[in-house]
Amino acid sequence: MILVSLSAYSYDWSVVPRSMPVLAQGLLFTLQISILSLTFSLILGLGVALCRLSPFKPLSFLAFGYIQIFRALSLYVYILLLYFGLAAVIGIKLNPLGASVTSLTLLNAAYMAEIYRAAIGGVDHGQWEAATSLGLSQIGSFFAVVLPQAFRIAVPSLMNQLVDIIKDSSIVAVIAASDLMYNTIQLNGFYNRPFELYFTTGLIYLAVVAIVSQLAVGFERRLKRHLA
């Protein structure tokens, strides 16, 4: 039955080349919000990790709460809350680009914070002792000695996080941010060729993810060589 109807369906792949300009535009937007969110969440995540590790209990507890809550929320629910909910409550009306980048940043910063924390924990304790015995202050040894090493440990995981950001960013289509996914849905509304179009978009995401992973592997290798 299924086989019969499979052959009965006439594919029309000609919609794909016709859709390419719009898809390319969407891909550009996807990459734009992904890279912006990556940059902001790298910074915010470090801030949260530092708060989490600070000896000042209330700050550490706040950071713990932030990490737990934002790791438990799905981007979909969060973006609806941010885009529609916040607009209704305090009258902040974010544009789709702002809402996308804000939500991706806030969510991913929680993951980044955990990556940083693990990496800081992964730096040999002897490094601390050596730095302080050389007369560096606590803060000085942290920023000059421990953090640069932690950053190197964290790089592979942080790059993997970029893959997650790119994949997650497809969800911003629900608030009509004109990313790759949104443009595909619009094109499907026009051509009504769901299989051809979603298949193509799937391949585009797959290709982007593969390229980013390869870059991550290369980057990691270069760091290792640098260390050796």
């Binding site: 109807s5 529609f84 607009a87 209704a88 969800i171 289509a173 499907n188 299989f195 979603y198 593969a210």
Partner: protein, 203 residues
């Protein structure tokens, strides 16, 4: 609450299927036969590389048009969770199987156990213990993924919240409630996973 339980059910069924598929794919990947390992590798890369949202629409709308295989929205969500999840569970099982000491396999072989019995009685029980924590993470990830089901009109908690929102125009309260339910459920999942971990830990 009704909506939330639907999300939980879809997650659990999708997760169970993802584990089953993932285990098979992991064994194929480790089989040492190129004809099995290469397709398994490609399968894993595809399932891990395509966003859940794209995959869901491909399954729900795309498959229906080309094959007439029309899933209900809930079925489409479960299939999507199972397939995308299986890419991750396959890698977890692979890691778990590889982490079992080679010596155990050799010992089992030298005791005259066959390949199947070695896997079932020696390797797999050890693997299960190792994979519980990462599988728990996948379960939570799938649960968060399941909340997207409302885009194909599954009446889950987000869909109901949208309904509430259109009736009362109270977006913050509606989606805020969903967010709270989500966080609480994830915490409950985590507690359950820690419990399983404790049971599964080596004595």
């Amino acid at each position: 609450m009704l909506g939330a339980s639907l999300d939980v059910w879809m997650t659990i069924i999708g997760f169970a299927l993802a584990c089953a598929i993932g285990l098979i794919v992991a064994v194929m990947r480790l089989s040492g036969l190129g004809a099995l390992a290469v397709p398994a590798y490609i399968y894993i890369q595809i399932m891990r590389g395509i966003p859940l949202y794209v995959f869901l629409l491909l399954v729900y709308y795309g498959l229906a048009t080309i094959s007439g295989l029309a899933f209900s929205p809930i079925q489409a969500m479960i299939v999507t969770l199972a397939l995308t999840g299986s890419g991750y569970t396959a890698e977890i099982f692979r890691g778990g199987i590889e982490a079992v000491d080679r010596g155990h396999v050799e010992a089992a072989h030298s005791l005259g156990m066959g390949n199947w019995s070695t896997f079932r009685d020696v390797v797999f029980p050890q693997t299960v213990r190792l994979v519980v924590p990462p599988l728990g993470n996948t379960l939570v990830g799938l649960f968060k993924g399941a909340t997207i089901a409302s885009v194909i009109a599954v009446p889950d908690m987000v869909f109901l919240a949208m309904d509430v929102n259109t009736t009362f125009f109270r977006p913050f309260e509606a989606f805020g409630a969903v967010a709270v339910i989500l966080v609480v459920t994830v915490v409950l999942f985590s507690i359950a996973i820690t419990g399983v971990e404790r049971v599964a830990r080596l004595p």
